[in-house]
Symmetry: C2
Subunit: 423 residues, 2 copies
């Protein structure tokens, strides 16, 4: 085996994990590690601090380095650094989902011009092998649908809300105390993180460029303990689902939002910070991949896996891994959320008034929405009633219209929540 | 893209599935298909019967063919045919688990001598990507354990026994009527099929040659409706599990037998003919892969996937896919079932006699077996009692001894079943 020289950009949790795992592979030589603060104490035995630099360009401009591992994250200044690396003919292994979701198209173009490649298994679902399987062993398939739990933080919060009947706020606090959620949890709880991963996975699954700005996104902050309870009573559990579908007309439906998932569905069984992806295609049918979606060690499995595949290939050819080249010239036609079709869960507060349920039923019918379940959950102290409706498959725009019309009636006090349902 | 010529050996369900999927890949030219009976009517539109031959050597000896797809199955005469193909420098894509489990070592040796490769994703778990992920993107890992539901027929039978409370015989009959089980079901229900797949998967997971004859194997024919019922009451479901473990002393524990799987375990959720594999390693942690383990289309996904990866690689190098080369010089030291450690479920028929439970407890204790649950299930008409024991982790040889000693007592009428438990 030839020996290969790598530089690592970023030395936080994941970078340190990668460094430790690479100790078992002596043919991979770590030449330089770019960090923010070279003086920070590192918790690694016999660590040679001479490896550290605070200038990442010492890595990407070094003639001595073959492959750049980027685990720093973010778009600025990482985009410029990796552009320089590619233009210097370095291959890249990255875990940076935000960068790939926002700037992947540009980066892959520059990589192609320089005849180098970018591998990014770790950018989606941490340790779960999904990017390379889709690009290699599953490449005979036409993939029609991906549905995944791609964010561990929100799945942890929803699991605790379900199992311990906690409020969103209490569950978030616990997740923060345990280090599952950041002090500013926006990236996770508002669905940004899941949307980045979905953009990357949809691009390779549907072979079309996905615009991250056109992905409909709803987080979990508006899920109430009451919704979790009603869902449970109806045989569902609430999950933040990243959904990508290729429609019959060739358009692409990609979105991230909470869903009521039927308890018998394999995704409903996925608990705590675990990630899971269901992929459906022809001829393979349905596949489910489950595992740790974050953490130093699982992420290092994917980073070092990419690296080992790359160096094994570089030993036999100067034109490595043809399947790994991203070359989607076609742009996906992404549909608006209003044009999607779903089953729905609607939670309504109505006056305690004998006609309320009939009124809801009539108004839904007028908007082409069939109701499959309707449940009134007793009378509140203020003489209002909580009504839960589950609909059959309907068009989102029709449902939004129906809800607007409902609110015009005096007997409807509030639409407490609207969620989509996966059976 | 260059164009590649392939020959297909075997044209049953899987072969026909592969043929159909390959119609979407015009750069792969099917030159010849070897069948038993060239005159048999084939249910394929516009099929050119000139492709057929009843002599597979027309394929393996043809200078015109680059890659041989083998989906005929069995060891004889397939072994000799594939040996000839390798010696003629043909790459092979095969779904033949029995052949690889019994003769893989020889075939991989011959492939290596001829600088060609054998790909076999379809041989284990049909459409589920597992072989290539283990050999590529997961190659940074030390895999310590695999536990899988690798046989759809037995999982279907056990699911029906559980959900509809059927006897083994009735569930088998239904599986046969639906085409899930063969007229002679031995290969499935006695665990041979799962053992072949386990041998292949263990070899690549532990990087050591596994001797199929040393894999302990127990089928599902002795599972009674009563066992399913007791397991359910205790929070378990019974599954045929293919288990491979790397022990701390470096020895390998590989076996196929039914197990009580805790209901919260992801493998317990896998129903009907679905397959699932849990893989545990460092640094990735636990991964679970679930999907269709058989059937024309899922199997074709893996066969054509292997083929497309191979041809993409052959376009850039004459020395393809280094990770795909099997080169295990070391032979696994496989331990005997008596030396394994497990938790156990024991079903005992005892005389209805006040000392029976005490006697069992004392005797188990004497044999270093701690009991975690003991349950007497009422008194039978013949004045016997059914007693269910769940033990803590104990050595199999100790458990076998205890059961032998139990049977010497007049108060113990029968050991109805001994099963292992996975929590």
């Amino acid at each position: 085996m030839k020996s290969f020289n790598v530089g690592i950009i970023g030395f936080g949790t994941v970078g340190t994990g990668v460094f430790k795992v690479l100790q078992s592979f002596p043919d991979i030589k770590i030449k330089k590690i770019a960090v923010k603060n070279v003086n920070k104490k590192r918790n690694i035995e016999n660590f040679d601090t001479n490896l550290l630099t605070d200038n990442p360009y010492e890595i990407v401009n070094s003639p001595d380095i073959d492959i750049v591992i980027e685990v720093a994250g973010g778009v600025n200044p990482t985009f410029d650094i990796l552009k320089a690396a590619l233009n210097n003919k370095k291959h890249i292994v990255t875990a940076n989902k935000e960068l790939l979701a926002k700037k992947g198209s540009e980066l892959f173009q520059i990589a192609k011009q320089n005849n180098v490649i970018i591998l990014y298994e770790a950018a989606v679902a941490g340790g779960i092998p999904i990017i390379m399987p889709v690009k290699t062993i599953l490449c005979a398939n036409k993939i029609n649908r991906i549905a995944g739990i791609l964010n561990g933080t929100t799945n942890y919060i929803l699991t605790k809300m379900t199992e311990k009947e906690l409020s969103y706020e209490t569950a978030l606090k616990q997740a923060q105390d345990l280090g599952y959620a950041e002090t500013d949890p926006t990236g996770d709880v508002e669905g940004f993180d899941a949307a980045y991963k979905l953009a990357i996975l949809s691009t390779i699954s549907f072979n079309k460029k996905i615009d991250i700005n056109k992905i409909y996104r709803e987080g979990i902050t508006k899920i109430k303990a009451n919704d979790i309870k009603s869902a449970k009573e109806l045989g569902y559990t609430i999950k933040l689902i990243a959904l990508g579908q290729r429609l019959e007309n060739g358009k692409i439906d990609v979105r991230v939002h909470p869903m009521l998932v039927a308890k018998k569905h394999l995704l409903a069984q996925v608990k705590n910070a675990t990630n899971s992806i269901m992929l459906s295609g022809y001829p393979v049918g349905d596949l489910v991949f489950t595992g740790a979606g974050a953490g130093a060690e699982p992420t290092a499995s994917s980073v070092v896996g990419d690296l080992l595949v790359l160096v094994a290939d570089l030993e036999t050819t100067s034109n490595p891994i043809p399947q790994a080249v991203c070359n989607h010239t076609e742009t996906a036609e992404q549909i608006d959320i209003g044009d999607t079709f779903n089953e729905y869960y609607v939670s309504i507060t109505a006056s305690n008034h004998p006609g309320a349920i009939g009124f809801i039923g009539t108004l839904f019918g007028k908007n082409n929405i069939n109701i499959s379940t309707i449940m009134q959950k007793g009378i509140n102290e203020d003489n209002t009633a909580e009504i839960i409706v589950i609909t059959e498959r309907a068009k989102e725009a029709d449902v939004q219209n129906a809800l607007k019309e409902l609110l015009k009636s005096e007997s409807i006090k509030n639409i407490d929540n609207l969620l989509r349902v996966m059976n």
